[in-house]
Amino acid sequence: MLELDNITVRFGGLTAVDNVSLRAGSDDVLGLVGPNGAGKTTLFNAISGLVRPAGGAIRFGGTNVVRAPMFRRARLGIGRTFQIPQPLHGLTVRENLVVAQRFGAAGWTGTVDERRIAEVLEFTGLADKAERDAATGLALTELKALEVAKALATNPRLLLLDEVLAGLETAAKRRFMEMLKDLHARFGVGIVIIEHDIETIATLCRRVAVLNFGRLIADGTPDAVFRDPEVMRSYVGGGHG
């Protein structure tokens, strides 16, 4: 469904993403890992349209979207979360989801699926905070849940999750992971998830891709990837495995 061909992103002299080619289908739960500053978030930014790659093609469902504006990609079914949560300011939690539903899922015209919103609120555990002001009334983890909720409300076909599990307590993390699996199984939503916790990635994902200095250095099953010596050295460190 998502095909990246030789994507390169540069900031001034810095090559943050270097010639990356990657595929993710609707049957995938793909883990994206790598050291800090490896270019993972930047890759997400390129896919969702926040940064323009210096070269390469991004195909989604067969069409090249590399020149498409952000909102069009969202309507095509690319949903994403932000590593640093970005709630819609001045709106309540529910209104956040209404906007996502109305414009992301239904497009320019159409109606709001209230049931879907209630479901998402329930799903992400935000039901009792629905009327709070999104920007000022939530703790960090709740903001992360809201990030996921917003992305879900757009009825995406592919979810790009940027460290949504970081900072979650163990129990919550487990619940969240169940939810993601459920989402994947029930709605056939493809998932690409950035996460630093190896255990999480190992239990959640069937495939892992590793970035280092912007380059893709490994792509395979968690088992295989986390045994790769280069990954071990650059990312996992001596303590693990």
Partner: protein, 286 residues
């Protein structure tokens, strides 16, 4: 009566300004451009081309929309950058009106702008008639504003202020929405500007594009509470009448001093404006 008419003109512009400021999240210092263009288009079309005045009013709005179309690139800018870029456009339009003598009459302006017509025995050019015209215009605009604000577009627009990227990745075409708001606001301002041209009967660049056309409505909108629909209107009437009737008699040259002081006090003690202040009182009493 003419005080009320003038106050409503300010109120109409304040409303259009607040529409952009509140919903679009864009503070404009350049609405005088739309007042001027609206006024000039209507004045020239009616005085020179002999169009009927009501059509002139509408075309004044359309002219302002065209002016806004030229300004569309400013939508890439935000905050103070936007505010100032649009001000720059206002200056440019003023200079054009001054220099393009063959069409605009240059610095001498357009005199003999026809007044609002007499229809069915009612003289809309008179004080009372004009009052009903501007009141109707303003009410229609307020209604449009209310409809937009209550819609999902209003919600998305509000969301965009601080988190434009975040709204876009949710599928909101923010550029289009902002553009629509700018054009709508320009149209409203243009119509009011055109009304004013016919009301005054005279236009010249310095007056049509005066900074006053943006400062006074801003003061009014803020004063009344620009996040509400009634606020700018209430603000315009209160500010204008207080200033003209009370402050003016207190200090004849320099009465704006009190206006300025009032503005500062207002911002410090009730930044959401007069209207919320009043309703809050009532809630507390009830």
């Amino acid at each position: 009566m003419s005080l009320i008419d003038a106050a409503l003109v300010i109120g109409g512009i304040a409303l259009a300004w607040a529409l952009l400021g509140n919903l679009g999240g864009m503070v404009s210092f350049g609405h005088s451009a739309f007042v001027g263009v609206g006024g000039y288009v209507s004045a020239l079309l009616t005085a020179r081309a002999g169009l009927p005045v009501p059509a002139g009013l509408l075309l004044g709005g359309v002219g302002a929309v065209l002016a806004a179309v030229v300004m569309l690139p400013v939508l890439r800018l935000r905050g103070p950058y936007f505010a100032l870029a649009i001000l720059a456009y206002a200056h440019i339009f003023r200079i054009l009106a001054t220099e393009w003598t063959s069409v605009t009459g240059g610095a001498a302006g357009v005199s003999g702008v026809p007044p609002l017509p007499v229809i069915a025995g009612i003289d809309f050019g008179g004080k009372t008639g004009a009052y009903f015209v501007i009141l109707t215009i303003v009410c229609v605009f307020a209604w449009i504003y209310a409809r937009v604000s209550a819609s999902h577009y209003g919600l998305a627009l509000r969301a965009m202020h601080d988190s434009e990227d975040a709204t876009q990745v949710l599928g909101v075409n923010s550029t289009l929405l902002k553009a629509a708001m700018l054009l709508l606001s320009a149209f409203m301002t243009g119509v009011v500007g055109a009304f004013n041209a016919h009301y005054i009967g005279f236009l010249e660049p310095d007056y049509a594009f005066a900074g006053l056309w943006v400062t006074l409505p801003i003061v009014a909108a803020i004063f009344g509470g620009y996040r509400t629909i009634g606020g700018p209107l209430l603000g315009a009437i209160v500010v204008y009448l207080l200033d003209q009737l009370v402050f003016k008699s207190l200090i004849s040259s320099g009465h704006q001093l009190i206006l300025g002081a009032l503005l500062v006090v207002m911002i410090v003690f009730s930044p959401r404006g007069l209207l919320p202040l009043l309703t809050r009182r009532r809630e507390r009493d009830a």
